[in-house]
């Protein structure tokens, strides 16, 4: 049975990653599960300099999902390399670094810095975080800005580049095409959805940031549709995410067109989810007599 998946020059032993921002820098979960079983570890978003993040409350539970407005708290490139890289480097599975900036130049600079580190698996460009005022989202909702970010990073590094698209667009196709055209090796679909919740007793927003990003099983059907749309537009691999909590969910993403998947919010409530998804995909393939996982990708039947 072949579970391996390629993203640019990177080969993953299996298609199951963990989503940025839901797995810290890897070390935190190492005591609860064997990270070396994963397809890849994707770390929380990093920009050039340290980021304090938003005031609290930063997350709120909603029906079959959650809102977050962490505000990309992080140690910056140097802090990351000093504190977290040694552990990640010691893993046998690739680490994907999720990066962001407030300008095209900053994206490129962060990419350049990680290129120089040596041993990074891939870079995931977060152009779609709804929780910060500058940077993030605007690059993900303007195809020209998106193209500029991808192009600049493409020049800055030979590492595999994954562009993480925003769901907050009328059609994802122009964005998928722009990223592909500028040399992105893969797409991640999808980031969280702009959303909001209000406590009706205090009458305050449930997040200090007022609005935040919606994730979890509640968004899965929208994510599946986005992947289905992007799959028919581009040839590059797609990493699907949005509410995956079981192998059945992961297979659904793959049938819609994802080459790989990432488990996000589910890590918070069931840290073993990614491992269970890998085991369950194996069972599914065996049960359906499928030798190569690639045969699932986009294999939804339409007639």
């Amino acid at each position: 049975m072949n579970l391996s998946v390629s993203i640019g020059k990177l080969t993953l032993q299996n298609p199951v990653m963990v989503a940025s921002g839901t797995f810290g820098y890897g070390a935190e979960y190492a005591r609860l599960l064997d990270l070396n079983q994963l397809g890849a570890v994707v770390v929380k978003g990093i920009r050039l300099t340290p980021v304090r993040g938003n005031p609290t409350p930063r997350t709120a539970e909603v029906t079959s999902g959650m809102l977050n407005a962490i505000g990309l708290q992080g140690p910056g490139v140097d802090g990351f390399i000093e504190k977290y890289w040694p552990f990640l480097k010691s893993l046998r599975v690739p680490a994907v670094i999720n990066i962001w900036g407030t300008t095209v130049e900053e994206y490129a600079e962060v990419a350049r810095r990680f290129d120089a580190v040596g041993g990074v698996g891939a870079l995931e460009l977060n152009v779609s975080c709804p929780n910060i005022k500058e940077g993030g989202a605007q690059f993900g909702t303007d195809p020209k800005l998106l193209a500029a970010v991808v192009a600049a990073c493409r020049k800055a590094t030979t590492l595999p580049l994954i562009t993480k698209l925003s769901p907050n667009v009328t059609s994802i196709v122009p964005y998928a095409l722009a990223a592909e055209a500028e040399g992105s090796d893969a797409l991640s679909i999808t980031n969280s959805f702009p959303a909001m919740a209000i406590d009706i007793e205090s009458r305050r927003p449930k997040l200090a940031n007022v609005t935040g990003g919606l994730t979890g099983p509640c968004i899965k059907p929208i994510a599946i549709k986005l992947i289905w749309d992007a799959r028919r537009a581009v040839k590059i691999p797609i990493i699907g995410m949005g509410g995956i909590q079981s192998a059945a969910d992961a297979v659904e993403f793959m049938l819609a067109g994802a080459n790989a998947v990432a488990v996000g919010t589910a890590n918070f409530y069931e840290p073993q989810t990614a491992l269970a998804v890998i085991a369950g995909i194996r069972d599914y393939l065996q049960w359906h007599n499928i030798e190569n996982i690639h045969d699932l990708v986009g294999a939804v039947r339409l007639s």
């Binding site: 921002g21 839901t22 797995f23 810290g24 935190e28 979960y29 005591r31 609860l32 929380k44 304090r52 993040g53 005031p55 609290t56 409350p57 930063r58 997350t59 709120a60 539970e61 029906t63 079959s64 999902g65 959650m66 977050n68 962490i70 708290q73 979890g216 099983p217 919010t265 890590n267 918070f268 409530y269 069931e270 840290p271 073993q272």
Partner: protein
């Protein structure tokens, strides 16, 4: 820290809206330090996904117990679970209280709500007996007093409505005690943020060290999501640190109380 499916040994009403849950969880029980907590997934909750954090009240050999108040959907669903049923627990989690060394400081505990439960193990494991100041709105809010007395601690209760103990806030008898003088005392506090702030101020005034356990909304409970942060002073200013990982217990002097919620 382990994640385990554990069995409920008992789940009984303690007083009013408080329940005591006892779980068969030897690995968690053995590893627990005072002030640590567990993160429980409550199976009947289906469209509410996240785990709920609860301080570990007692850890005896094979079992751990928590005292919890029914405040919302999770705790109400939990209260309906029965002995024999299972739930998933991650624990023990967090950085707990510093247990006083033999011949060290005399501990003065300040508790509100479930804070009393959160500090029981500290009292149990402290070689020095001390005093626990406990406050609540009314009589039913005063938890596990008997347990503290049983291990030889003095309990000074206050209630806002005067229905039990002294009438007023928990900080009143604390200040009175500190005014009485004495050396080598240390405060330990767990309760609502307003109480923690008051305790921090008192500790500063009386120049006594204080460890406080922060109650922040949590999501992952293990340090990956950055939900539960509190502002902590650093050499160059301040940064957000995690209640679930660097905390819940912090040195009160390190917390930037001005911007803590």
């Amino acid at each position: 820290m382990v994640e385990q499916t554990v069995q409920i040994i008992s789940n009984e009403r303690d007083t009013d809206a408080y329940f005591q849950l006892t779980l068969q969880a030897p690995e968690i029980a053995r590893a627990t330090q005072p002030g640590q907590f567990m993160h429980l997934r409550i199976p009947p909750l289906r469209e509410a996904l996240l785990r709920r954090p609860f301080s570990i009240f007692q850890a005896n050999g094979e079992t751990v117990a928590v005292l919890y108040k029914t405040v919302g959907k999770g705790t109400n669903a939990l209260a309906k679970m029965r002995a024999g049923e299972e739930l998933s627990a991650i624990g023990p989690l967090g950085h707990g209280f510093t247990v006083p060394a033999g011949g060290g400081e005399t501990p003065l505990l300040v508790a509100g709500g479930y804070g009393m439960a959160a500090m029981y193990l500290l009292a149990e494991r402290s070689p020095q007996k001390g005093i626990v100041f406990v406050g609540g709105r009314q009589r039913v809010d005063i938890l596990c007093e008997a347990e503290f007395r049983k291990i030889g601690w003095e309990v000074r209760a206050t209630t806002e409505d005067g229905s039990y103990g002294e009438k007023g806030l928990v900080t009143q008898p604390l200040v009175a005690e500190l005014k009485r003088g004495g050396r080598n005392r240390k405060l330990f506090a767990c309760g609502p943020t307003a109480m923690l702030k008051a305790v921090a101020k008192i500790a500063e005034e009386f120049q006594v060290p204080a460890e406080i356990s922060t109650d922040e909304h949590m999501c992952c409970g293990v340090g990956v999501c950055l939900t539960c942060v509190v502002p902590i002073k650093t050499a160059s200013g301040w940064e957000y640190q995690r209640t679930c990982t660097e905390g819940p217990v912090f040195d009160s002097r390190n917390v930037l109380w001005e911007i803590a919620k």
